[in-house]
Symmetry: C2
Subunit: 333 residues, 2 copies
């Protein structure tokens, strides 16, 4: 697609514990270019991760220039989303257990490597902003985003901007208590939503069920090696109609519905966007989830809110990272 | 206190299930005049309540004029806070179980009776805005308010304005789930914060404890008639050092701490203001409450937030109702 001569481009980087995703977009969000994904390989150390990100950004710029005819000067900056908590002002990843990082100055290391202004925000915030900007949350004034992966990330977007709160912690929906005497969570707390409905816990609950229950496709899918069951195994078995897998998805939906109802009654959003592997279960997830939220939330709060799957898939974080850069650096995004 | 010649005054009305409180303030919030409280007597019907409110507003204006030398023309309007949910746009109290009202056009009935422009908002929203404006939440950018009475009301204030959400339900903190398999709540849900920490439930838990436990000042305070124990009885016994009462307050603090931690991790406020009878317990409430919130919330979220008792007492709702009117009708409040 040919680009407008004065169009400016921004590169978005979504750094996760498993993969790094990079892509480029014009500032108006109209198109996505050259989306690339590579394994993070955090075990090689932070400098190796930075080098890989810088190389990917260069590649994405080269490919985008070839595809659009844009010059290098058209690229105005890099937006980065990284696992939180982060210190936005200083561009530092405060703690990232999945990367093994503590107080790492990611923003400035990337800016130095690429030679462009760079911004840093939390990855789940970026994914929510991406969906709110051009995805499933389009048109919403108050958008809640949740990404269910190894953990549960979340974000709040108000009037098109990430709500960061007083100390950049806002949106940590995975770490809200739904059962105060419940399961221990990795965060040290008891009864967090994440301890029930994350991918890790979905697999764990499936294994717990199989320890007592009998027949299931799940058992066959891992050749009887229950420890090999992952959340993905459960989603696939559910799609194939396996009853135990469907039950685990239904339980997951109830947990998520309770967590979402808490947000409906406090934040009263117009859209809740749910992303991540579990959405592969489709209606098997969304129908009981909406039913649980309806049961628990006030009627006007439930009625005012769409609860929908994300539309941007693995690109949401990149899109949102582009938007955060645009909002911070460009006159009018 | 003499008033500035051009100073404009606003009357605030706080309508509760038990009492009506009315007062007047200049638009800059500098002083409060002629605060009056009368029983609501909802059993006499909505029209009788409106007539009493109109009479109280007239009295407050008369007294304020006498105290300040202001003329009747200096009074520009009436702000009203009423039990929610309400329809703000149409000025209608949608459902108020404590008043026995359904779809009552309170705003227009008061406006007609007083002859001044009138605004309507939820009472707990008003109380939070009052504390954020000139009370314990002063200076906070994101303020959460909770009022613990018969039920638990709540509100969110962002940058000095009530956050209403998509359908005027925002801030219903009392109806967030802290134990999804827990106590049934009056709202029909299970495990709501209100079902554990409201005044009603505080009295109920004290009675439950006394059914099995032995000696307590509580038993003597009601002459052995346990059904006469109210939340107030518990607060008084706690202040007198009664162990069972102190235990009930401590449990209450843990429930409130869990509910507040959910808000710290999602909304990440700089201030949480807690009001209502239970704050009479002082440190016996706030110390375990803060400890529970610290245990459950992310450190930067807890560290960024003051959790404090309200400063305005029974006037918070009136002050906030004045502020909502000022924000909606005056050029610059």
């Amino acid at each position: 697609m040919a680009h407008h001569k004065d169009q400016r481009f921004i590169i978005g980087v979504d750094l996760g514990g498993t993969n790094i995703v990079v892509g480029a977009m014009p500032e108006d969000g109209s198109t996505r270019y050259a989306l690339r994904s590579q394994p993070t390989m955090a075990e090689l150390g932070a400098e190796a991760v930075v080098a890989r990100i810088v190389q990917m950004v260069q590649d994405v710029m080269t490919v985008t220039m070839a595809e659009t005819g844009a010059k290098r000067e058209a690229f105005v900056g890099v937006g980065v989303g990284a696992p939180g908590p982060i210190d936005r002002e200083n561009g530092v990843v405060t703690i990232a257990p999945n990367l093994g990082w503590k107080d790492f100055p990611l923003r400035d290391r990337i800016a130095a490597g690429v030679g462009l202004p760079t911004t840093l925000d939390n990855d789940a915030n970026c994914a929510t902003l991406g969906e709110a900007w051009i995805g499933a949350g389009r048109g919403g004034r108050a958008v809640v985003g949740m990404t269910i992966g190894t953990g549960i990330g979340g974000g709040l977007v108000v009037d098109g901007h990430i709500w960061h709160g007083a100390s950049d912690v806002a949106g940590e929906i995975g770490h809200t208590t739904i059962d105060m005497h419940g399961r221990r969570c990795k965060c040290g707390n008891y009864g967090c939503l994440e301890a029930y409905a994350s991918g890790t816990n979905i697999a764990e609950r499936a294994r717990e069920r199989l320890a007592t229950d009998g027949e299931s496709a799940l058992r066959r899918m891992v050749g009887g090696k229950l420890e090999q069951i992952t959340a993905q195994t459960v989603y696939e078995a559910a799609r194939a109609g396996d009853e135990i897998a469907l039950d685990v998805v239904k339980e997951t939906a109830a947990f998520l519905g309770a967590g979402i109802a808490n947000l409906l009654n406090t934040f009263n959003p117009d859209v809740v966007v749910i992303a991540g592997g579990v959405t592969q279960a489709g209606d098997a997830l969304f129908e009981p989830l909406r039913a649980e939220a309806r049961r628990r939330a006030f009627k006007p709060a439930f009625d005012a809110c769409r609860i929908v799957p994300g539309e941007l898939g693995g690109a949401a974080g990149v899109v949102g990272a582009v938007a955060t850069f645009a909002q911070q650096h460009l006159a009018k995004a």
